[in-house]
Amino acid sequence: MKIGILSEWDTDEAAYKILVESILGRPVETMKSYRKRSGWAQAKALVRAIIRDLHFAGADGFVFVGDSDSTPPHAASHDELPNGFPGCRLCEIRQIVATATQGLRERSGQPRLKTAVGMATPAIEAWLLSGLEANCTEAWFREEHTRGRLSDQTRRNLKIRKYGSLEASADIKLQRTLENAHRIADDLDGLELPFQFGFGHLRNDLEQW
């Protein structure tokens, strides 16, 4: 199975690929590695272009996992709103992906491009620290958001806790990312329990492929 993944860094992509393979129960080939320069606005615009690119390139699937940063984390109540919850990135990107795939014409001899969307709250580092730190859960970060305490500093603290420092070398980042990605991929239920929406949606999408 050939897929495309959009991420910010090589290390993030490596972690997503491990999770995707664990959920699907089979190896996947990263047909194209997409990188975004920065910013949510840019990522949204790129998603549409990447879906189009993968569609024409004959890929089987597209996986997007974003960071919610300091925006409202997804909640069950969002799924009942016709246009999603304002400011929720998971709601927003799911709509964008749905619209983008609907606009693609049929491919001869190949099924439609499959898609899967997840949202790490507040960042991928939280998933990778799952099971190691008691407060590393969507519920805890949602509470922090409600209290107005979810900020860039939250992200920085997560990075420091995961990599040891903000200045960790790329080698160390990759090594620690792979170690933790394999650990959480071996216990998908253990990751979904604390991250039931951001990771749960990704898992659900992939299980329908």
Binding site: S33, R35, Q42, A45, L46, I50, R52
Partner: protein
């Protein structure tokens, strides 16, 4: 007249590919994807040993007994007096030394046209600006021209001031627009018979010598010297003209290069200069959204690199509706990014 394309076979990483060229071409691609090789190959066709490529190594790889490298240039006349259409010159290199052994002369071209080709090729120039070299004081030589690093720029500007004062004034106007802290180009004489450029500050009217100017400022001056030249080269090959410049200055860089390629659009009454530039800047690429036909993507796969025109993508219009060109390139949608593949 301009070069319509150059085909490569076994020229370093360019194993079998064709680089299509227009009046203006912007090459994008990862490091090691043959952009510089292509520029140096084109530059090698300038005399003195015309038509033999000079100072260019194609690299020797593979089975040396059967190895052959080849470059094939297609020239075209864009409608000026003597018509030369689709002239092809082919160069073959063979082992053991890799020297040119065969040269296929343009067929169906008369002596006058050949002479025209030769004169055109004589004015091919390659630039890869180096701020340190631009800043150096240089001896006053009446025929000196800017070398590939930008060395001798001070003498070129000094001569422009004397022979074409109206052009020199236009550079001063451009200077105040690009770098508003300065209002005039001046010249120092560090020793007898030498020149070195200096800039006068708008406030306080202080002279800032070349050695104290920023690298970006010096590169801007070199671009001015090129773009406002009264007798520019026929083909300008320029590596990363945006190097060291603030992103807001990149529109000016594009304008300067377009001044060469599309002189009629800037009130210049002269032949267009063919320009081939490279860049690694998504910001610079963003400026060419309306001209995807000017973009060529260099793609590296393993040890082989290939060129393709951006406009040859079937889905380009849809992609350009979605995202800025620079983002599409950086993300990998357009290709031309570093890859393990």
């Amino acid at each position: 007249m301009f070069i319509k394309s150059i085909k490569f076979r076994n020229v370093r990483v360019l194993r079998e590919t064709e680089l299509p060229l227009g009046r203006f071409t912007l090459l994008i691609g990862p490091n090691g994807s043959g952009k510089t090789t292509a520029l140096h190959a084109l530059a090698s066709f300038a005399p003195p040993k015309w038509p033999w490529p000079e100072g260019f190594s194609v690299g020797l790889e593979g089975d040396r007994s059967t190895w052959e490298a080849r470059m094939e240039l297609q020239w075209i006349d864009d409608g000026s007096s003597e018509s030369i259409s689709d002239v092809t010159t082919i160069f073959r290199y063979r082992p053991p030394e890799g020297q040119t052994l065969e040269y296929q002369r343009p067929s169906g071209v008369d002596g006058g046209a050949k002479s025209k080709l030769r004169l055109w090729a004589k004015r091919i120039r390659l630039y890869s600006f180096n701020a340190s070299r631009i800043a150096e004081a240089v001896p006053l030589q009446p025929s000196a021209e800017m070398d590939p690093s930008g060395h001798f720029m001070s003498v070129v500007l000094d001569r422009l001031r004397d022979l074409y004062p109206e052009r020199f004034e236009r550079i001063n106007e451009a200077l105040t627009s690009w770098l508003p802290e300065f209002d005039r180009i001046l010249f120092d004489t560090p020793s007898e018979g030498q020149r070195c450029v200096a800039l006068r500050t708008r406030k306080g009217k202080h002279n800032i010598g070349a050695a104290d100017l920023s690298q970006g400022t010096l590169i801007v001056l070199a671009l001015f010297a090129l773009a406002y030249s009264a007798q520019p080269p026929s083909l300008v090959l320029v590596e990363e003209p945006d190097r060291g410049l603030h992103p807001r200055l990149l529109r000016g860089v594009k304008d300067a290069l377009y001044r060469l390629s599309f002189p009629e659009e800037s009130g210049e009454d002269r032949e267009p200069v063919q320009v081939v530039a490279t860049t690694h800047s998504p910001y610079f690429l963003d400026l060419f959204r309306d001209h995807p036909e000017q973009i060529v993507v260099a793609e590296k796969k393993g040890n082989e690199a290939m060129f393709s025109r951006l406009v040859d993508r079937d889905d380009l219009d849809g992609l350009l509706d979605e995202s800025p060109l620079g983002d599409l390139w950086y993300s990998g949608v357009l290709g031309g990014v570093p890859s393990d593949a």
